[in-house]
């Protein structure tokens, strides 16, 4: 027998294991409904691949894994999907989560599935894929997807099979080993095959399960088919809670400590629960997905406690009936063991893949926790802590929410085994403090991550807006220069044309690179005129657009100014002046755009017939659909309308924000009316706009009342600026 090591601390709570070890594994009649939570494992929840009303067969995939760390869910029996909805799930929070509900049809008919008894012919990757597809997760309680654990990046020299079952009451693994040791050994052989035949295979088992040990030993002797039978060793060690914790078991069996934050694979170790090996055997050698498990139903409130082979998704109430559960005597129903299990909110929740035990306790068995007293710093908790923490210090800091100190005291290394709470003479709910603090620390870290992201995005946004402003200013400058140059050119051109039209025309065809600049200018002017003539419609549209955008900008600037008006501190005054300047700028640009449009329109009026001829032609070629035509016309009209509206009201707009809103409302109403008369699709949207605008108008009215003293000077100011221009 190989050497074993001791772990720090640990406790010896009353075992109560005999309670459920009376007879063989019992079966449960098919329940009428099965409830299958989409998240029965650690990692991303599965997503349903069936719909309500679908017929499913036993073993059929109903929800597929999402991502690498996830596990699929299969139908445990045949029937019809009756709902995919939120249901209370067996979770410590007692909250609801998405579940697939199956109405069983009683036939229990299997889907076609294929067995692979000669698994040794398959590659590790193929077997891992099969295990993953079978939805196998750790059956010991945590529920980590097994396939993920079986793809270590490091070479594995030790495979540890956890048959410890150190929690009181639970006997599911014990019973499983007693009855199915041979199957388990095949499961272990499959694991060994996948992991490339590790040097050592250690089955860790506490010395309070002599029968199970015996069963394993004799099965080991009888199994001639495993060529690494010699490598398998059943290691017995003294019973002590929590020796079944992964870290603790590794320490007991190998003497090594798993460095904080590392995975066992980094030490060349893979740990699997013994129940999981059995599930893997069923999955590979029988092709059955994980649809049932062994669950201990026990506690003094059960008339006939025992171990049950139960379908995943079976409601707890259905299972408890088999164990002759007496609800009157049971104030607390626990899923899992008394040390780390959680209390269930009611009996409607289903059994899930990780439910190893259902503990129906009487008031005497699990009395309500006595009121906590002050910590007397007796140190009993530190004596029993398997992680060698100082629970009393953790408690102290958790109480004062001093997360920094908690991290310095390695709160993260607490495995929440509950040994400290168990021994605490002051009955302080220590583990709850740690869980709360851990949750809070996680939350803070998440918030920190989010706020860092937001900060980065905000800064980026800020930089972008600034850059845009700069670009715009630069463009404006360039345009101004260009406009001046163009004006100068035009004048020069006009002069030349007036002085010597013939020469200009004559010179144009033979204009060379070495010709005079004057000729060039004339050419450019001609080209421009030609271009204008070529697409007057385009031009017009462009200016209309320009009017629209400048109007919007103007309006926005005014809004800002109006908002500022309500605050009259010294800095605000300066800012307001700045804002006024920008309002003025916007107004000027708006005016400019309108002037240009007007110029074009006169231009077009001059070229009237041509224009009219061109218009229908463009629309016709654009689209043959009369509906679209109408819409396009409506848009054009609306734009024109907007332009007109805008051209009518700049002065009033500058007077009062409210007026502007009124105009907008009017505009929107006109739009709405027009849209309605056109039967446009935007009626709905315009309706909304009108409603919002009238609301805003009301708000503006109110605001106006409060900020009226300010709007006076503002008006004067703008007028002056306008005049000076």
């Amino acid at each position: 027998m190989s050497k074993i090591w001791d772990i720090h601390g640990g406790i010896h709570p009353a075992e109560h294991k005999a309670l459920s070890l009376g007879g063989p594994i019992r079966t449960v009649p098919l329940p009428p409904t099965l409830i299958l939570p989409l998240s029965q494992h650690i990692g991303a929840p599965a997503y349903p691949v069936v719909g309500v009303g679908d017929k499913v067969l036993k073993g059929q995939l109903i929800a597929a894994a999402k991502g690498f760390v996830s596990a699929p869910v299969h139908a445990p029996s045949s029937g019809v999907i009756s709902a995919i909805e939120e249901q209370t799930v067996p979770h410590v929070s007692g909250m609801k989560a998405p579940c697939i509900v199956i109405q069983t049809d009683g036939n229990d008919s299997w889907i076609e599935h294929s067995a692979n008894p000669d698994y040794r012919q398959k590659t590790a990757a193929e077997l891992v894929a099969l295990i993953g597809d079978a939805g196998i997760t750790g059956l010991g309680g945590a529920g980590f997807p097994s396939a993920v654990k079986l793809q270590p990046r490091q070479p594995i020299n030790t495979l540890i099979i956890n048959a410890t079952e150190c929690e009181p009451y639970i006997t599911a693994d014990d019973q499983l080993i007693r009855e199915r040791a041979a199957d388990i050994l095949i499961g272990i052989d499959i694991l060994a095959h996948i992991l490339g035949r590790p040097e050592r295979i250690l089955i860790g088992i506490e010395d309070n399960k002599p029968e199970a040990q015996q069963a394993l030993a004799s099965a080991l002797k009888n199994s001639g088919n495993t060529d690494n039978a010699g490598a398998i060793e059943v290691v017995e060690f003294p019973t002590k809670y929590p020796s079944g914790g992964e870290k603790q078991l590794i320490q007991i069996l190998t003497g090594e400590e798993l460095p904080s934050g590392k995975l066992p694979a980094e030490l060349g170790i893979v740990c699997q629960n013994i129940g999981t090996t059995h599930a893997i055997y069923r999955a590979i050698c029988h092709g059955e997905a994980l649809i049932s498990r062994l669950t201990t139903v026990t506690g003094q409130a059960c008339g006939k406690p025992g171990n049950f082979e139960v379908l995943i998704g079976t409601p707890v109430a259905h299972l408890l009936k088999e164990a002759e559960f007496d609800a009157q005597r049971c104030p607390k129903l626990i899923m899992g063991g008394p040390m780390m299990g959680f209390a269930l909110p009611d009996t409607s929740v289903p059994i899930i893949k990780s439910s190893n035990c259902l503990l129906a306790t009487t008031a005497e068995e699990s009395p309500p926790p006595p009121p906590a007293q002050a910590c007397i710093r007796c140190g009993h908790c530190a004596e029993v802590c398997p992680a060698s923490l100082l629970p009393q210090q953790l408690y102290w800091h958790a109480q004062s929410k001093n997360y920094e100190r908690l991290e310095a005291h390695h709160l993260a290394d607490c495995i929440e085994c509950g040994a400290c709470s168990y021994v605490c003479p002051s009955s302080i709910p220590l583990v709850q403090y740690y869980r709360a603090a851990k949750g809070e620390i996680r939350l803070i870290a998440e918030e920190k991550r989010q706020s860092d992201r937001a900060r980065a995005r905000f800064e980026h946004h800020q930089a972008r807006v600034e850059q845009e402003e700069k670009d715009k200013a630069a463009k404006r400058e360039a345009r101004k220069l260009a406009a001046e140059a163009a004006k100068a050119k035009r004048e020069a051109e006009a002069e030349i044309a007036a002085a010597n039209p013939q020469a200009a025309l004559d010179a144009s065809p033979s204009a060379g690179a070495n010709d005079s600049g004057e000729l060039d200018i004339v050419q450019a002017a001609l080209a421009r005129v030609a271009a204008k003539k070529a697409s007057p419609e385009d031009q017009r549209k462009r200016f209309e657009r320009a009017i629209e955008t400048t109007a919007a900008r103007l309006q926005k600037a005014q809004q800002v100014l109006a908002a500022m008006a309500s605050d009259d501190s010294a800095e605000q005054q300066i800012k307001r002046d700045q804002q006024r300047a920008s309002v003025e700028q916007a107004r000027l640009r708006h005016q400019e755009a309108k002037n240009k449009l007007a110029a074009i329109e006169t231009d077009q009026a001059a070229n009237g017939p041509g224009d009219i001829a061109a218009k229908p032609a463009t629309t016709n070629t654009a689209s043959a659909d009369p509906g679209l035509d109408r819409a396009a016309a409506a848009i054009a009209r609306a734009q024109k309308n907007a332009a007109e509206q805008a051209s009518m009201s700049p002065q009033q707009k500058l007077q009062k924000q409210r007026d502007a809103l009124e105009k907008r409302l009017g505009k929107a109403q006109t739009r709405l009316a027009q849209a309605e008369s056109e039967g446009s699709e935007q009626v709905e949207a315009f309706n909304h706009a009108v409603a919002t605008l009238s609301e805003k108008l009301k708000a503006a009215d109110l605001e106006l009342a409060s900020g009226s003293q300010d709007s006076g000077p503002a008006k004067v100011q703008t007028h002056t600026t306008e005049d000076s221009n």
Partner: protein, 356 residues
């Protein structure tokens, strides 16, 4: 169906704070018996007065603080403070000594700091020091152990009637007092230890460390072993203290010259050594937290004890040593966290958090 839901674990061990305090009370019994057999009924009277005062004060303060009185009284912590203080006071001390000390210990040293579990200083020792400083005369008037022969007269302890009169009516007890061995040893002027032992009745009638007192210490040692056996506390603090004291005595013992500081056995079995090692130093609330820390904490108390005994103004110094180290306990904690599973060698908390 309304099911209770609380955080795991759903099982609880058999121990409670009451149980811990009861064990401490039980463990004082051998010491109390020996004290009574040597010094008479006085100690029991002390304990009774202190207990009544303690319970009264505790109840009054709890009422003021609007805490459930019964719930907190049942943790026995006030009683433990009272009993420890009662044991430490000289037998047949006037009644108001016990009352003042206990009241101070409970009201000021315990509750003003937040009550049980929050007091940074050992309340019994605070009470003791307050009395020692305020009433040095009464505090150093120890009876001669009964059976000790001084100048031909055999010391005897007063009966119950006399004792009550002394305690409550203030009758004189002059005839019965005698220096404690520690006191006597301190006033050794110019004699070799061997000669001094031969000349002093406290020592020539005793076996190892002074008549009577050595048995008192052995009795407390016995009680301490009981507590260790029941795993009420770990061995670290008491062993630390006794070790510290032993080492100091060893290094400073010159074989018995006139300037000698006393042998190891003398120090271990005289005064409040054993009482302190198992009943005061082990007070969990005010000591260091980790085992390593408790070892250091105890050892330093042992060192201070020796220093004050040998060179200080007071014959015994348990209370000062303990209070001084109460101060230092958080500091010790800071530098002595245990090595957590999966972490490298342990350093101070702050250093490790920087590494991480």
């Amino acid at each position: 169906m309304a099911l209770t839901r609380n955080s795991s674990p759903h099982a609880h061990g058999p121990r409670s704070t009451q149980w811990v305090m009861q064990q401490v009370l039980i463990a004082t019994v051998p010491g109390l018996i020996v004290l009574t057999s040597f010094f008479g009924i006085g100690t029991i009277i002390n304990i009774l007065i202190a207990s009544i005062t303690a319970i009264g004060c505790e109840a009054a303060v709890l009422k003021l603080r609007q805490r459930p009185i019964g719930f907190y009284l049942r943790d026995y912590s006030a009683l433990v403070t009272a009993v420890l203080l009662g044991l430490a006071l000289p037998p047949l001390a006037p009644w108001w000594l016990a009352v003042t000390g206990t009241a101070f210990a409970i009201i000021i040293a315990k509750h003003l700091y937040g009550g049980m579990g929050f007091n940074p200083f050992n309340p019994a020792m605070i009470g003791y020091v307050v009395l020692l400083i305020s009433f040095p005369l009464q505090m150093s008037a120890w009876l001669a152990p009964s059976g000790l022969v001084i100048d031909g007269t055999v010391a005897a302890t007063p009966g119950l009637r006399d004792a009550l009169q002394i305690v409550f009516a203030g009758n004189a007890i002059d005839g019965f007092t005698a220096a404690t061995p520690l006191d006597a040893f301190k006033h050794n002027s110019g004699l070799l230890v061997e000669n001094f032992y031969q000349q002093t009745p406290q020592f020539n009638q005793g076996r190892w460390a002074g008549f009577g007192w050595e048995w008192v210490n052995i009795a407390f040692l016995l009680g301490g072993c009981y507590l260790l056996g029941r795993k009420v506390f770990t061995w670290h603090a008491p062993v630390g203290m006794l070790g510290g004291l032993t080492l100091m005595a060893l290094f400073n013992y010159d074989g018995g010259s006139s300037a000698s500081n006393g042998s190891i056995i003398f120090h271990l079995l005289s005064g409040a050594t054993m009482f302190g090692a198992f009943f005061i130093v082990t007070d969990p609330v005010t000591s260091a937290t980790s085992n390593r820390g408790r070892l250091i904490y105890g050892a330093l108390i042992g060192v201070i004890l020796f220093l004050i005994r040998s060179w200080g103004n007071y014959p015994d110094a348990l209370a000062f040593g303990v209070l001084l180290m109460n101060f230092a306990a958080p500091f010790i904690d800071y530098y002595t966290p245990p090595r957590t599973y999966g972490h490298g060698k342990s350093g101070t908390i702050i250093h490790r958090s920087k590494e991480d």
